[in-house]
């Protein structure tokens, strides 16, 4: 609208008329698209989401009972990083996010390539891979807890057929978090796959024909066309799974409750534990740390990946 008005500004004699016109169109805009349409969404968003987010920065600095709060400075944050049990959550959160998003990128891309090739059962396979995305996380967690049981679980029984003695996946501190991360990948890879399918299908066929003319094979097609040109999909998958991975709570909580001990706790599960224990200030400090971690990783990542997207 404004651009148009500026372009039309020619002689000095027209200026007054132009201004009048601009004012009229602004007025018309105000009538056609009134800010009142924002109102319901804005009220709910501000009150329920934004106010708590901002208040968290204050309450994180207090000892808090929900009714009254005493200012204690940075004590909560010091506790968070001084206590081994809490610090581990910080490391675990990063580990979990990196493992899940890395695997979702690799497996999602492979499945995406497979499911856009000329398979006869393509439709069926796409559905099968995608369906876990729609199943409740708690249900998935309970099911896999059963499948991962040390002696009777299906996974270890299958491994036993090959003579491998599988560990107690969820009961061993070394494998607990990784097992949950793998189940997360199982549940979420279908989403990455459909993003890749959409990305791959939007690549113009000409590029593949060009590779064929040059006598390139399947590997060339993948390496020089599919991989670079599905970059926007990779970008989305990385950002989304990072956001999801850093915030992940429900799967960890249903499968291990952060255990054994505190070895598979993440920031989100610590927030819940401290809340249950009545340490509301500490829990909120966890929330602030999570906020900082998420923005400190996702915003630069978004910037960096976005820049690359332009370059390609």
């Amino acid at each position: 609208m404004t651009k148009q008005a500026a372009g039309l500004r020619t002689g000095p004699g027209q200026a007054g008329k132009q201004q009048g016109h601009a004012r009229a169109s602004r007025k018309r805009q105000r009538a056609a698209y009134p800010y009142t349409l924002y109102l319901p969404a804005a009220v709910v968003y501000l009150v329920i989401f934004l106010v708590p987010t901002v208040m968290a920065f204050y309450f994180a600095l207090t000892r808090w009972t929900l009714f009254d709060s005493t200012f204690v400075g940075l004590d909560n944050f010091r506790d968070f990083f001084a206590e081994q049990n809490l610090r581990i959550g910080f490391v675990n959160t990063l580990f979990y996010a990196v493992v899940t998003s890395g695997l979702k990128v690799v497996l999602g891309l492979l499945l995406g390539v497979l499911l856009t090739s000329k398979l006869r059962l393509r439709g069926f396979l796409r559905s099968v891979v995608f369906f876990p995305v729609l199943v409740s996380t708690v249900a998935v967690g309970i099911t896999f807890s059963a499948l991962l049981r040390p002696d009777t679980g299906l996974v270890n029984r299958s491994l036993a057929l090959f003579g491998i003695d599988g560990p107690d996946w969820l009961g061993d501190a070394n494998t607990a978090l990784l097992s949950v991360a793998l189940v997360d990948v199982w549940k979420g890879v279908g989403f990455a796959t459909v993003i890749y399918i959409a990305g791959i299908l939007s690549i113009p066929r000409d590029y593949y024909q060009a590779v064929a003319v040059d006598g390139g094979g399947a590997w060339h097609r993948f390496r020089h066309v599919t991989l670079p040109l599905s970059w926007p999909a990779t970008y989305s998958v990385i950002i989304l799974s990072f956001i999801g991975g850093l915030r992940s709570f429900d799967l960890i909580w249903t499968m291990t409750r952060g255990g054994p001990g505190f070895t598979s706790d993440t920031i989100a599960s610590i927030i819940y534990k401290q809340y249950q224990a009545g340490f509301f200030g500490l829990s909120t400090a966890g929330n602030v740390i999570l906020f900082v971690v998420v923005t400190a990783i996702v915003v630069p990542l978004n910037y960096f990946l976005g820049k690359r997207q332009v370059a390609v």
Binding site: A32, V44, V47, F131, T143, A146, G153, Y275
Partner: protein, 275 residues
Amino acid sequence: MRALKRVGAEGIALVLATVIFLVPFSFMLLTAVKDEVQAEDLDFAWPSEWPVVQNFTEVIEARDYVLLRAFVNSTVLTVASVALIVVFAAMAAFVLQRRAGKVSKLADFLVLSGLIIPPAIVPTIWLLKGLGLFKTMPGLILVEVAFGLSYAVLLFRAFIAAIPRELDEAAMIDGCTGLTLFFRVIFPLLRPVTITVILTTSVTVFNDFVNPLYFLPGDENATVQLTLYNFQSQYSTQWNLLFMDIVLITIPPLLLFVFFNRKIVAGMTAGAIKG
């Protein structure tokens, strides 16, 4: 030879996908229809008896019909929050797409923040308590709306961008402005994307575990996901009932998936790539 190779590769892909993705689901089904003793083994043995109806009635009757109440609660929660999200997000997306300026820039920023920022749990509880909405269904509905708006706004905005402005102008000549313009002219045109938003958001809200856990605890208000969580501790010995519960609460998303598979996938990818 080549055809043979392809059939071979296809076979391997099929077998792998079946094993990896269908085995857990068949395990759920199998365990749900076994009797209590056999279910305890948590293995893949074929059920020796099929107490399907008995398991079904038992899980329904458990704890004074908590599952039925949970289904009612989840339905109320899902329908109400999805309805509010659709109307609020569509209205906001319309102004956001049509009217450039500082306000829209701010709104844009807030939409992205809503997608990225993890909600601050305890301050939200504190606030809901202050409003008298903590542990109430309306409170939880508002929470779901606040957390679900951003994604819906993105989808709606992308769709509205494809509706020509000339249409607004024509409607304005006929005297439609503001609310009437939106509800009588624009909103009916948003039907395809509205369906997409309804589908994806209802799956999300119905499957939500974290928000009910924090903001609506307690057996009388339980949502279906919380019954699972509660049964998990209560039924550590009655796996058949636990898995019957899992099967029952997986049916609604399964039905949506069977009928609207394409729409759901399209909606999710559109939202993801534009986000």
